[in-house]
């Protein structure tokens, strides 16, 4: 079963999402350049929990007028399989990639009223101050109560909010862009990413938001737990007997999304698919699922496009 959207065939299927714990942080720095360096470094090697300790990505650019300290900022999101894993990944990454980065400061990007849990991230990092850290209090008795830690570092001082919000989130949102040439498929997938960037609380953890080597569970080799998604590899479409590649398709790119809630992921999928279908050469869009065996979220492509 399929339907047509902007003249492109969309398979009437669903992306299968699963639960992860997600957090949102705001990293600021003296310039946009340093905020980006810190955010990019912190979210590096965090594409998939298949082989990474967490999944992470840059959510959005925060303009100085909207950032907590009035400096340029970047919002990043980190996802882990449990609160503990999320917490340890954030702690390691903040400690090695943001604390070390000149001029940065870190603020909670998921307010307590929206979070399921507040993680003691700044409270743990404070020990780096070796006894010279200073607890900073704001708002007691007249504004919203806030707590930070000021940690002396060689460049000056590192400021981090005491607690970072975390909530049960949705990972594994996805769709596959199938095009006639590698060039057109990449162009369409890039258009998807630009559209997805407009949706708050969603990240695409793969390089540039795109995964050109989607995987399937298992392999012909016993030692390998995941291998190339053979049904969706155009270069073997006539060699692999269960290939799902249409005749006129010669390239496939997967867009993978994580978000703080299901509606946000579905909305991002809808906008991404819509943008991709407007690019010449896109022949078909589908999604990866495991027939409901992997996760509890079934995000239909048809429903996601209804919100566009």
């Amino acid at each position: 079963m399929s339907f047509i959207h902007n003249g492109v065939e969309i398979e009437d299927t669903f992306a299968e999402g699963f639960s992860m714990w997600g957090s949102r942080l705001i990293i600021t720095a003296s310039t946009q350049k340093w905020a980006e360096i810190a955010a990019t470094t912190m979210t590096g090697f965090a594409t998939s929990v298949i082989a990474c300790d967490c999944e992470a990505g840059i959510e959005s650019v925060i303009e100085p007028d909207d950032s907590p300290d009035g400096r340029p900022g970047i919002a990043v999101m980190v996802y882990g399989f449990s609160r503990g894993k999320l917490s340890s990944s954030m702690l390691n990454r903040l400690g090695q990639c943001v604390l070390t980065c000149p001029t940065t400061a870190v603020y909670n990007g998921l307010p307590e009223e929206s979070a399921d849990e507040m993680l003691d991230i700044g409270k743990s990092i404070r020990f780096f101050g070796d006894g010279y850290q200073v607890k900073m209090r704001m708002g007691d008795g007249w504004q919203q109560r806030q707590r930070f830690w000021r940690i002396p570092v060689m460049q000056g001082e590192f400021l981090i909010e005491e607690k970072i919000g975390a909530k049960k989130a949705v990972a594994g949102g996805n769709f596959l862009v199938m095009g006639d040439t590698e060039e057109n498929t990449l162009k369409a997938a890039e258009a998807s990413i630009e559209a997805i960037k407009k949706v708050p609380h969603v990240v695409t953890p793969f390089p540039g938001g795109l995964c050109r080597s989607g995987s399937k569970v298992g392999s012909t080799y016993a030692f390998l737990k995941a291998s190339t998604n053979t049904p969706f590899c155009p270069s073997i479409k006539n060699s692999f007997k269960d290939s799902k590649i249409p005749v006129d398709v010669n390239s496939v790119i997967e867009v993978v999304l994580n978000g703080l809630d299901e509606p946000s992921v579905k909305r991002a999928m809808g906008l991404g698919i819509d943008a991709a279908t407007k690019v010449d050469g896109v022949k078909s869009i589908t999604a990866v699922n495991f027939e409901g065996k992997l996760g509890k979220f079934k995000m239909s492509l048809r429903e996601s496009l209804e919100g566009v």
Partner: protein, 278 residues
């Protein structure tokens, strides 16, 4: 819906009046007649409020919706808004001693000057004094080990001595000058002074995250404070932004990214309080 009561002092008295009943918590839910009959002290004599203060207006059912306006000179009236938890008081003139002492919520605005002990041992809420404030603003009462533990006091003019003594948490902002012993025995909280800071600032302060930020110079520094460095702390941006956005103090924005000298002390008591001087 906000209900407004106007209190008009019947002239000035050289004998002080103690009127801790002037509070939204006390007024709310009463009839106007009951409010007029509330007990106050004229010297050591207990009298009914109506003898010295005329009350008219509407009474709210709960303190949150009660506005009390004091229309006239109230410098002889002590303890206005003492221990209040909610609502609003506006004094359209001077206010007497102990204004808003030990209050935990709501807000008070004084359009004139305010005498000593305003906001003493305050726990929460907001006091705005558009004129000058007396001594011991936000201080601890004698014998007490904790002064302010929350809330904010903002003074447009200058302040007397011993402001913020034994301060534990909360914020005091002064656009004018301060007297001697600002933040004496301070053990937390934040003080911002945009005028000149008086002598012996931070004497015996222990720290606990507390700091005094001086943007208009300091008369002199105690030798028991050690100069660590000159730097531009990021955390100061958060406070200065808050002063501008929440209190409308545009002067704060002039000091964003201003390098500050960081002094740490008071070493006489092994303290780690900070005095930051722009």
């Amino acid at each position: 819906m906000i209900k407004r009561i106007v209190l008009t002092p019947r002239g000035f008295s050289s004998i002080p009046i103690e009127a801790d009943v002037i509070s939204p918590d006390v007024f709310a839910g009463k009839t106007l007649q009951e409010i007029r009959n509330l007990p106050i002290y004229y010297g050591n004599e207990e009298i009914e409020m109506k003898e010295y203060i005329h009350a008219q207006g509407k009474v709210a059912d709960d303190p949150e919706n009660q506005l009390i306006v004091i229309d006239g000179d109230a410098r002889h009236i002590k303890q206005i808004g003492t221990k209040m938890t909610a609502g609003r008081i506006v004094v359209q003139g001077w206010a007497g001693m102990h204004l808003g002492a030990q209050m935990s919520g709501g807000d008070i605005t004084v359009e004139g000057n305010c005498l000593d002990w305003a906001g003493a041992e305050m726990k929460g809420g907001l006091i705005r004094i558009l004129g000058d404030a007396g001594n011991l603003l936000g201080a601890a009462y004698r014998g007490s080990s904790e002064g302010m533990t929350g809330g904010c006091i903002a003074v447009t003019g200058s302040v007397g001595s011993e402001m913020g003594s034994f301060m534990r948490r909360g914020m005091i902002v002064v656009l004018g000058d301060t007297g001697d012993f600002t933040g004496v025995h301070m053990n937390g909280g934040e003080i911002f002074i945009f005028g000149k800071t008086g002598k012996r600032v931070g004497a015996q302060a222990k720290g606990n995250g507390g700091f005094i930020a001086c943007f208009g110079g300091v008369e002199d520094m105690l030798p028991t404070y050690r100069l660590d460095t000159t730097y531009t702390p990021v955390f100061m941006r958060l406070y200065l932004k808050e002063l501008y956005e929440k209190l409308g103090l545009s002067v704060a924005t002039q000091f964003i990214d201003t390098p500050m000298k960081r002094y740490r002390g008071d070493l006489a008591v092994s303290g780690n309080a900070e005095i930051l001087i722009a």
